[in-house]
Amino acid sequence: MKSRISTLFVALVISISGSVSAKDTVKIAYIGPLTGGVSANGIGGRNSADLAVRLKNQDPNAKYKYELVAADDECKPNVGVQVATKIASDSSIIAGVTHYCSAVAMSTVDVYHKFGLPVMVWGAVLPEITYANNYKEVHRVNGTMINQNEVAAKFLTGLGYKKWVIIHDTTDYGKGHNKYFSQYLTKNGGQILGTFGVTADQQDFTAELTKVKELKPEVVYFGGLTPIGIRIRTQMDRLGIKAVFEGTSGIKSDAYIEGLGKLSEGSLSFIEGAPWEKLPGGLGFIAKYNQQKYPDAPEAYGPFAYTAATLIIDAIEKAGPDRKKVMAVLNNTQNVETIIGKVSFDDHRQNIVPLISKYVAQDGKWVVWEDSLYAKGQRKLGQ
């Protein structure tokens, strides 16, 4: 009898001590396009945020156990608002790594503000997301399209190109790119021969492109995302338009190159930050990413999603799982070392990213301009 009691006692002690050492689970959200035309970027971002969570959970010194709640905004504003409302109204979720598509990010900021959910945008580049309101909940770890377009305009005018045609989709994202690019292009001496607004799901661009052909531009600037980027580039070829194809960060995905094959050669794209190989913590990031054996690549904005998730996790470690306290910590982010370099938020909680990388599609890969055969003069754009 005595031995039975002592066994029971030991078991009780073990179970109590076990429950004491078990960590509380803290949920953070990830929202991005997991299906639809730009899902390659969304899935890469999700995996990257998930990597941050997995790594923290392996850390024995972590105060909490983290769980990533991933949701699909389909890159559609109406779906984004529904998903954001669902996530924000779930009080067990403390913060979110949110949105790749600008039109979606723009439409959801009010939701996060209303519900007081601190979020960090990881891919959308429309300046208004952080600058149009003064919502303390909304942060952005990547740069804006203002920086991107300044570089994009200076770059090709610097190479001697003069005549442009602009094609942009008529979402906030495309219109924003048109606005900032036009502004910087004219400032740098470029001439805009024509501007075409197209819908984001348009299939046939032959009418617009015939007009473009008539205008004889040296460069076609495209402000939009991968799916219609592929279509426009294909149909340019069909109509024999030889101009240089200059895209934005919206086409910087492997899907663009896969969709076009050889035709992608010589397309240009710009992103905030640098390729992972050149990021301060890029090699470490990609090594850890590959260790987890995700079936998909992290894509261009994966490192930003990882950084956003890491900053949120660090804030929770510091302030505890409380939305308001986490928000306060995130608001005061200054000079924090991350894999993308130092992160500092300005008065609108926008990370100041001075570095923009230029890319050119070369032999079926996006290559940093400076390392490409084009920069070395061995190949010529628009051939």
Binding site: A40, T199, T206, P227, Q235, R238, E258, G259
Partner: protein, 310 residues
Amino acid sequence: MSFDIFLQYLLNGLMLGVIYAIVAVGFTLYFGVLDVIKFSHGDILMVGAFAGLTTYIGIAGTFESPWLQLLVLVLVSLSIAAFLGAIIARYLILPLQKAPPINTLLVTLMLGLALRELVRLFYPNGSNPKPFPRLLPSDGIAIGEFILRSDSLILLATGVITILAVQRLITKSKVGLAIRAVAQDSETARIMGINFRQIVLITFMLGSALAALAGLMNGLYYNEVNFSMGLLLGVIGFSAAVVGGLGNFYGAIVGGFLFAALQTVGAVLLPAILPSVPSAYKDVFAFAVIIIIMGLKPTGLISEKSSERV
């Protein structure tokens, strides 16, 4: 506008028109024979295009000749679509024959959605646009700014020949006679010994094969297919069929070319007349004109009174 640029617009418009007309003919066949509106037609088109793409991936290493590859993928794609059409007719359309027409419309609408989602979720990397193989010769002649590529010409000719062949099938063949008889009066046709069920199945197989052909033409023309390609094409094909006179074969063709012309004119004229209006509004323009035409001629451009159904 110079003449060569005008020719380019004309060719673009004709290419669109022929694809729209083929889609519209499908809608008209279903409506003519069974009075049903099959809203999954656009998605059958997409399934046909993906079936073609998959076949190409499967046979790319087996056959060297692109013409042989093309022949195989057309045959497989059309057969799959025709089979799917027969299944839909047998298990969705015929059982609902006595139900209100709205039920058929809803069922096919939902089927279209299901097909779209199936491709998106289960086709490898199905949510991204897929490059469609360039199997047709891409050489061409340039007259000033106008480029006439062989592949465009082949596709245009294929479209026109297909429409003529379907027209001949319906007006000259025994099967066509039976289809027209069922379209005119299914009860009398049955009494005259026509196998109603068989004719319905044949009509749906024919319509679905036409959709698959339009899907393949679309893929070969744009060199890209995606899971949502059938959505707008379905709506445009349906509008074209309605504005031409739903149930009327020639009306569908007129409607298809009319819609393409309106889109092309809209894309060119809108930004020229109103600089603040982007060419993105070309569909709005085209649909607005269609609505006006519908208001003026509610039974379509070629109404049933002046012509036979199908």
